[in-house]
Amino acid sequence: MRGKHVVLIEDELNIAEAIRFILTRAGAAVTHLATGTDSTAVLLREKPDVLVLDVMLPDRSGLEILSEIRAIPELATLAVLMLTARGQSRDREAAERAGANAFLAKPFANSDLLAQVRTLAEGGT
């Protein structure tokens, strides 16, 4: 994962810190956003390899952000891993429809998170 760039959008600061620790330890560079407000601008600027996106955000839903991203040509192929704390199959389907490449229910095993992000990061290069 060395040289890989991951953008993380997660409002729960403790969870964000855990994910950053896990991915950073594996060699990736992590940019964290606590809200989805100016996510597209950041993504266009950073051009990450993988986006880890929480579904439940305080200001706007992760699904909304994903739809928006997919509408932008430069970001249409960005690999996206969606995280949800609700963990219902409904959410998985909704995430897939919105164009997520992978889906992970909270709470997750750290190894699963790392494996998913790694797959997406390497598939993307």
């Binding site: 969870i15 855990a18 330890r25 704390a85 963990g87 909270k106 709470p107 095993a109 750290n110």
Partner: protein, 892 residues
């Protein structure tokens, strides 16, 4: 002529009459009454107006007072020729309302007032008494004439006994004639026929005597005219007052005499007969009066001085040796007397029985079982007794008055008496404003004056009133003298009584009517009477024909439905042995149809509809009221149905709403579970992730401590969330156990502020209070109240976005409630989410900073509801503001 032969002739004559009546009755029952219904029979039956008074008395009247006797014929003639439309109206009303007597007419018009029925009955009975006495007197006199063969006619050995026997005989005769059966419509075909025969007999007898006098005794028409010119009759001066008064009273009497009402209205078979009678009856009267003056003149000239002119009709033939003619004349007089007595007694007995005896009997027998047969027997018996009583009264009057007065003067007393009914009657049929109060006042006033001024004095000085009272007035009160009321002197007693009674009667009637309001029944009857011609087509327009059956069918189809009506008609036609759909409209079939329809529309409506179509009777107001009653019931029933279906609709609506609510709740529950899932999974995610990190990595000590701290915090968060959820669940189900104690509100607020200051984040936070307002004891669950205060204060502390956060706490006492407002100086809560803040998980900002799961205010709301108070957002205060209200004393 032997007295016994006379009696035998009389009895034979009566037997013949009885036979006539019997045959007529039979034919009427057999439905072959065709010739009984001739207008001629009706006209002849009206001739009971001409009683013994006319037959004997008119000659006597002419001998005493000249042409004045004509007034007695003039009145009725004017009514029949000029006012026949009044008669027609009476007849129409009588038929439409099934009136049985004049008392019934008045009672029915004034809202079925039985009181008025009784008043009219009493007036009629008392007024008829002199009249019946007159008949007794004339028959007794005529017997006497034959028995003694003396021109004076006074020499009957025992006049009183003869009169008694005559009275008893007439009573028996009338009972046999009039009450053999109880006719539903009070019609007596047999009697009408018998009196028609009698009318012919008396006319022939009087004409025969007249012809005999003109051409047998005198020398023809020229001679008679010469004799008239020479006689004292030609010298009688005409008194305009008496002429007008007598014409008026006889005109009134033809309308109000009970027996005239009986034959004219009650026995009327066809309204069109009135038209015939309007010329035929005056003609009859003219024939009856044609020879009165000649007989009187001849009598005065050939009979000895002092002979009774009332008996000239008998005594002239006798004195000339024309025994057979005298016998015919006797039969004529007998006919006149008997027909009057029979019909009068029947009419009066109907009134007495219907208005006095039956109501009394029913009132006395309230509660006891009574079979229909009982009433029938009672009515017959009461009528028979009434007939006997009426004749007994007549005899008593005859006995008390001495039987010596001129026939005409006795008759006029009766006329004035019955005329008292006139204002109430005419007012009743022409003035809708006439009320029963007015009618009663008029009737009683007129009756009292008649009684006092005419009836009681008629027994002669020292009869029923003392001579002194008549001369000086009661207690010497001059203006109350019976013959000079209110100081009016110089009038003869009859005119005096007529003037005052009719004047005051009419006045009282008008005043009473104008100053009272008619009841609803009275108003309806008033309209029915006054507007009788607007309501229905004339009777007799319907004849029994195939068309009628067809109309009945078309009506029935509308009520029963085509199929059922046709099935019913078909079955009835088959039962009658007829092919096709239409049965003959026999009474039997019509009765069955009426019952059939009654099942659908009610008895009264059914009866009214059938009556309308079969044309036998018109629909009366009672029928319509009954119809309205049924319609009302149906309306009420359908209103009930409507209410029921409305109720059903309401229930359906409620069910639909409940269903929607359940669906909504289900959605909410799903949302809630998903929220809970999220709220639980979020801290668990941190805990799991950091636990794994701690387990697998060799971390520096400071990071280990930091991550362990996060795990610790998240675990507490999780616990708090679970506590809140359980708490909320208990509160929402109102199963919470409240520990009610007492505390000072000020102290609770202190504790809350201290507790809230310990929560994160640390910041400057000023609380403004007015302690003096806060001291009040509250009886409530103080721990729960504290929980609410802590929540509200820490919310302000957390979310107030002012740089220098200030929370103002204001306490007020409102009635039995404390009102605590928490107002901060932040930017407040946006209007669109104000309604949401008390909902579960309604977090407006990022929870991880706030450290709550968004259940705080929901819990607060539930706690306040449990404490009998409330918490609500208070808009328009600048910052965020919450108002808590609670009862100072919570009733456990």
């Amino acid at each position: 002529m032997p007295f016994n032969i006379l009696v035998a002739v009389s009895l034979t004559y009566v037997a013949v009459l009885f036979g006539v009546a019997f045959v007529a009755e039979r034919r009427a029952i057999g439905g072959r009454a065709g010739w009984l219904r001739l207008p001629l029979v009706y006209t002849l039956s009206l001739s009971i107006y001409c009683t013994a008074w006319t037959f004997y008395g008119a000659v006597g009247y002419a001998a005493r007072s000249g042409l004045e006797f004509l007034t007695i014929y003039l009145g009725p003639t004017l009514v029949f020729v000029g006012w026949w439309w009044v008669l027609r109206k009476l007849v129409r009303i009588g038929r439409a309302q099934r009136v049985t007597s004049i008392a019934d007419l008045i009672s029915s018009r004034y809202g079925k007032s039985n009181f008025l029925g009784v008043v009219v009955t009493v007036i009629a009975v008392l007024a008829a008494t002199p009249y019946i006495a007159l008949q007794l007197q004339s028959v007794t006199l005529s017997f006497g004439v034959f028995a003694s063969d003396t021109p004076e006619g006074w020499a009957v050995p025992d006049q009183g006994a003869t009169a008694l026997w005559v009275a008893a005989g007439l009573a028996l005769f009338t009972i046999l004639f009039g009450t053999r059966n109880l006719d539903a419509n009070e019609r007596h075909h047999g009697i009408v026929m018998a009196i028609a025969v009698e009318a012919v007999v008396k006319l022939i007898a009087l004409l025969a005597v007249g012809l005999f006098v003109v051409w047998g005794v005198a020398g023809g028409v020229a001679d008679i005219l010469a004799r008239i010119d020479a006689s004292p009759i030609a010298d009688w001066e005409l008194k305009p007052g008496r002429w007008a008064g007598l014409t008026f009273v006889s005109a009134a009497a033809i309308l109000t005499l009970p027996r005239m009402f009986q034959v004219m209205v009650v026995e009327n078979a066809d309204e069109r007969h009135v038209a015939t009678a309007s010329w035929a009856f005056p003609l009859y009267l003219m024939l009856m009066s044609l020879f009165v003056v000649p007989i009187a003149v001849v009598g005065l000239s050939i009979m000895p001085e002092g002979s009774n002119p009332d008996l000239f009709v008998l005594t002239i033939p006798l004195s000339q040796g024309a025994g057979k003619l005298a016998l015919l004349a006797f039969l004529g007089g007998f006919s006149s007397a008997t027909s009057m007595v029979i019909v009068a007694a029947i009419a009066l007995s109907t009134m007495v029985s219907n208005h006095i005896v039956t109501p009394l009997w029913l009132a006395l027998r309230v509660g006891s079982a009574r079979a229909p047969g009982d009433v029938r027997g009672l009515v017959l018996m009461s009528r028979r007794l009434s007939i006997a009583a009426v004749l007994a009264l007549g005899y008593t009057y005859y006995h008390l008055s001495g039987g010596s007065a001129a026939l005409a003067s006795i008759g006029l007393i009766s006329f004035v008496g019955v005329a008292q009914v006139l204002p109430a009657m005419m007012g009743g049929i022409y003035w809708r404003g006439a009320t029963h109060v007015g009618a009663a006042m008029g009737l009683i006033t007129g009756f009292a004056i008649w009684l006092y001024c005419l009836f009681l004095p008629s027994f002669g000085p020292n009869g029923l009133l003392s001579a002194r009272l008549i001369a000086e007035g009661p207690f010497g009160i001059d203006w109350l003298r019976p013959h000079a009321l209110f100081g009016i002197t110089g009038l003869d007693p009859l005119l005096h009584a007529l003037l005052w009674s009719m004047l005051l009667n009419t006045g009282a009637f008008l005043i009473g009517s104008l100053s009272s309001f008619p009841g609803p029944m009275e108003r309806l009857q008033g309209v029915a009477f006054v507007n009788i011609f607007d309501q229905s087509s004339g009777p007799g327009s319907w004849t029994r024909s195939a068309a009628e059956a067809e109309d009945l069918l078309s009506m029935s189809q509308r009520i029963l439905g085509a199929e059922e009506a046709q099935r019913f008609f078909q079955a009835q036609a088959t039962a009658q042995g007829k092919a096709g759909l239409l049965p003959d409209p026999t009474p039997d079939f019509i009765a069955r149809l009426e019952r059939q329809l009654a099942g659908s529309v009610g008895a009264a409506t059914s009866h009214a509809m059938i009556a309308q179509l079969s044309g036998g009777t018109t629909v009366s107001v009672q029928d319509l009221i009954a119809v309205a009653g049924e319609a009302q019931q149906i309306k009420e029933y359908s209103a009930q149905l409507e209410a029921k279906s409305e109720e059903l609709a309401r229930t359906a609506r409620a069910l639909r709403e409940a269903n929607e609510k359940l669906t909504e709740l289900s959605v909410q529950k799903d949302g809630f579970l998903s929220q809970i899932s999220h709220e639980l999974r979020t801290p668990m995610t941190s805990i799991r992730a950091f636990s794994e990190i701690l387990m697998e990595s060799d971390l520096p000590e400071d990071m280990r401590a930091k991550y362990a701290g996060i795990i610790h915090d998240e675990t507490r968060r999780l616990t708090r969330l679970l506590d809140d959820l359980l708490d909320l669940s208990v509160l929402e189900n109102r199963k919470v156990q409240l520990n009610i104690g007492v505390a000072n509100l000020h102290d609770i607020l202190n504790k809350a502020i201290v507790a809230a200051s310990n929560t994160r984040p640390e910041r400057m936070f000023v609380v403004q209070r007015d302690a003096s307002t806060e001291h009040m004891p509250v009886f409530t669950d103080t721990d729960r109240l504290l929980q609410v205060f802590i929540n509200v204060i820490s919310n302000a502390r957390k979310y107030c976005d002012a740089e220098r956060a200030v929370l103002r706490i204001e306490v007020k006492k409102r009635g039995g409630q404390a009102q605590i407002d928490f107002i901060d100086n932040g930017s407040g809560i946006p209007k669109k989410v104000q309604a949401l803040i008390f909902e579960k998980f309604a977090r407006l900002t990022d929870t991880s900073h706030a450290g709550g799961a968004g259940l705080g205010l929901a819990i607060c709301r539930e706690i306040m509801a449990n404490l009998g108070g409330s918490i609500e957002y208070l808009p328009g205060q600048g910052g965020a503001a919450f108002r808590v209200r609670l009862p100072l004393k919570l009733s456990a």
